[in-house]
């Protein structure tokens, strides 16, 4: 009798555990409860970051739609630069979808203000920053240009946009302070965000169905991910997983997944916050196992794949899942549709443990900044104003750079959103609501590029079998600490 009871209890708890692992709702409830009990101790990290994150969260909540607040109409000036002829240079990075849409908006602006000529310089991500480096060296940067969260490196050449916001050239009536704060740093309004995004897993739902797999739960783990990748590879013969952001996965996202409030880099860019390399090891080992089994592409194959969403193996049908940014979903899905490879859907990033923190937060995907030596700062400011506020322009852009930050634009494009686009908006809103995402730092120290490359090399060495995952983690750890002491 007693034995039977114990048995029943064990089975019940086993069921509960498995439900928590599969059902997204079960998992988050437990997590939320955990967070509440932990609430008093969430003073880790610098106050400023927490505050900024708070505001980001608030802002992200707004994106959920529903109560948009008062939407004020934005009136654009009759003419810019007093109607006198001028030429400005505008540059951005992105894939084909973005290039086409952005070019159209530039044409709309030039039609509205015929005295302004805008020369455009689109490029891919890598090429963009190479070109930019030479232009910075030569003191001849584009007048208005796209920039990510890596403004710390360029702060000396960026115009503070605060005066333009204050005098209304850049209309921010429909933008919450929280959104503006995502691109305010080092005492300057560095740029105006063109949209917010979050890390996401994009997967091919058709391939999942083919392999008989359930669609991922909200709190799935890397263990689940690996199992899915292996199963997908077995059934479809393609890669189970396309590129993962290996460095983020092991470091900047991976570390916060271990413990709420712990981060890879310190908030003030002065060094590493972790005190031992062990945090990186499980992720490196996972990549090693998946590469060995052929579920994950090796370096040669990853190199064959380009960096734009359209070139990702998921878009070409050569892989079932990939790590991406939420604003890349649409372009990738569009390419996948054109290639006829199946329906793409999104899922959360896997976690270190099902009831642990998510490790990532909503951030500005990219913004527009103005060169501080431009001849026409006012025209540039007007262009930014048009770019972020014009409903017509944003119908064309359609949130391809991330969820737009002005409520008016969100309201304007909401009706025309596709099912997938809506799911992306909801997704970003959801990530913004997560309690633990407030304690994730999104700063990018200038040493990050070198550390990232070192990580890649060490990972390659692990895959080649010349060192162990522990050794690789230790080498990266030492290299990073070294980089900060130079």
């Amino acid at each position: 009798m007693k034995a039977k009871k114990v048995m029943a209890l064990m089975m019940a708890s086993a069921m509960a555990v498995s439900m928590a692992a599969c059902g997204s709702d079960g998992g988050t409830t437990t997590k939320a409860a955990d967070e509440t009990t932990k609430a008093p101790e969430t003073t880790k990290g610098s106050d400023e970051t927490t505050k900024a994150a708070d505001e980001t969260t608030k802002a992200a909540e707004e994106t959920k739609g529903g109560e948009e607040g008062d939407i004020k109409e934005v009136v654009f000036p009759e003419k810019v630069n007093n109607g006198e002829d001028c030429t400005i240079r505008f540059a951005w990075w992105g894939g084909q979808t973005r290039h086409e849409r952005t070019e159209k908006v530039v044409e709309m602006f030039m039609e509205k203000y015929p005295n302004v000529t805008i020369t455009t310089e689109p490029s891919d991500f890598d090429g963009y920053f190479q070109k930019m480096a030479t232009l910075v060296g030569g003191g001849d940067v584009w007048d208005v240009f796209q920039l990510g969260n890596n403004w710390a490196e360029y702060t000396d050449i960026i115009t503070d946009l605060t005066p333009y916001i204050e005098d209304g050239t850049i209309n921010t009536d429909n933008i919450s302070d929280g959104f503006l704060a995502t691109t305010y740093d080092l005492g300057k309004q560095m740029e105006i965000s063109l949209g917010t995004n979050a890390h996401v897993i994009i997967y091919n739902a058709d391939m999942f169905a083919e392999a008989g797999l359930d669609e991922p739960a909200e709190n799935w783990t890397w263990e689940d991910y690996e199992k899915c990748a292996e199963a997908l590879k077995e059934v479809t013969g393609e890669y189970g997983s396309s590129s993962l952001e290996e460095f983020y996965g092991a470091c900047t996202v991976g570390v916060p997944q271990w413990e709420d409030g712990l981060n890879f880099f310190k908030a003030d860019n002065s060094g590493l916050m972790i005190d031992k390399p062990d945090y990186m090891v499980p992720f490196i080992e996972m990549i090693q196992r998946m590469t060995e089994s052929g579920a994950y592409p090796d370096r040669g194959a990853l190199n064959e794949m380009g960096t734009t969403p359209e070139q990702n193996f998921v878009a070409t049908g050569e892989a079932a899942m990939t790590w991406a940014l939420s604003n890349q979903v649409i372009a990738m899905a569009k390419a996948a549709e054109e290639n006829g490879v199946g329906t793409l859907k999104i899922a959360t990033l896997p976690r270190h443990s099902a009831d642990g923190p998510s490790g990532y937060a909503v951030k500005s995907s990219q913004g527009l900044a103005i060169y501080n030596k431009t001849k026409y700062p006012d025209v540039c400011a007007e262009f930014i104003n048009f770019f972020i506020n014009s409903p017509e322009a944003n119908q064309v852009l359609a949130g391809e750079r991330g969820v737009p930050i002005t409520s008016a634009v969100r309201a304007a494009i909401e009706p025309s959103l596709s099912e997938l686009e809506k799911s992306v908006y909801d997704y970003v809103g959801m990530v913004g609501e997560w309690e633990d995402s407030k304690n994730v730092f999104i700063n990018e120290p200038s040493q990050q590029n070198a550390i990232k490359d070192e990580f890649k090399n060490q990972l390659d060495k692990v895959n080649a079998g010349s060192i162990t995952a522990e050794e690789a983690a230790k080498n990266v750890f030492d290299f990073a600490n070294d980089a900060f002491t130079r």
Partner: protein, 311 residues
């Protein structure tokens, strides 16, 4: 003669016109485009990079930090040493292959027919386009997992090779791209071959030397000054290999193709550590100079200079 004229001119005050018509002035004017270009595009940037190598220049500001960059390179940067090693391997693999190939093709195309000059032009073509990004991209496709090379291997029953993902294999496709651009060496070899007097061959033939013997006993020794020239030039170019690493492999896998020129570029334009990049390029200059010197020193042993006139 010239000296006397100059002295005479110097004796009396000169008008502008007279000055301009002096031999020296004419010489300088005609050399000016080169001299200006040399100063602005070579001497000045070199001086600047030497200065930057002593700073932490990051495109925005440059603080003088003495020899710190060099100390860091020699004591704390294992990537640098590995990069140097891989560059050496690449040069040792690519340069001799390229020269042998160029010499063989030149040798078979020495016959003075119209069709030979057509072939020569055709074989020269890769050298015109070989350094370009487009060809590097084609190469990347050819050696891809499902690329042409693996397709051919598959057709003859050999397993696919992971050309660009295996660090033990990756140097071969890249070296092959260099070898493929054998045109300019070939042209120089062809010119050299024509200079060898036919009487030597005739004499050898009468003495009953086989064609192989003729090649090793006559052609190679007579051609050795040209071989030396090509060897030096190609070695220097070899050390500067960049396009392949940047376009095809991006330095990977595991830094196997992180050639020194690409490493300099990465430090400068990716990590914005222009000071350190400049320091590495100066060390590279010294390394190339030493290697060239060694080649010249050994050349005394194997380069054969004909005494007196050619004929």
């Amino acid at each position: 003669m010239k000296k006397k004229a100059n002295a005479a001119l110097a004796a009396q005050p000169k008008t502008f016109k007279q000055r301009m018509q002096s031999d020296n002035a004419v010489g300088y004017v005609f050399a000016a485009p080169f001299i200006i270009g040399f100063i602005c595009l070579t001497i000045f940037p070199m001086g600047l990079s030497l200065y930057y190598s002593l700073t932490n220049y990051n495109f925005v500001h440059a603080d003088f930090i003495g020899l710190n960059n060099y100390v860091r390179m020699f004591t704390g940067d294992s990537r640098f040493w590995y990069s140097l090693w891989r560059t050496f391997l690449y040069v040792i693999l690519a340069v001799p292959l390229k020269l042998i190939f160029a010499l063989l093709v030149a040798f078979f195309l020495t016959r003075n027919t119209k069709i030979a000059s057509l072939y020569r032009a055709v074989y020269y073509l890769p050298s015109l386009v070989g350094g370009s990004v487009a060809v590097a991209l084609v190469w990347k496709q050819m050696f891809a997992r499902k690329g042409m090379i693996n397709g051919i291997l598959g057709a003859i029953g050999i397993d696919r090779l992971n050309w660009l993902g295996d660090k033990n294999l990756v140097l071969f496709p890249l070296a092959l791209l260099t070898v493929w651009q054998f045109g300019s060496s070939m042209i120089i070899f062809a010119a050299g071959l024509k200079e060898i007097p036919t009487s030597y061959y005739e004499a050898a033939e009468i003495d009953g030397a086989s064609s192989v013997q003729r090649f090793f006993k006559i052609t190679l020794p007579c051609l050795s000054p040209v071989i030396l020239y090509n060897l030096v030039m190609q070695t220097i170019t070899g050390f500067m290999v960049f396009t392949q690493a940047a376009i095809i492999t991006q330095g990977g896998p595991a830094d196997a193709t992180n050639f020194i020129a690409y490493y300099i570029y990465t430090q400068g334009f990716k990590y914005f550590d222009m000071g350190y990049g400049s320091a590495i390029s100066w060390v590279m200059l010294v390394v190339i100079a030493i290697v060239t010197l060694i080649i010249f020193k050994t050349s005394k042993k194997w380069v054969f200079y004909e005494a007196g006139n050619d004929d």
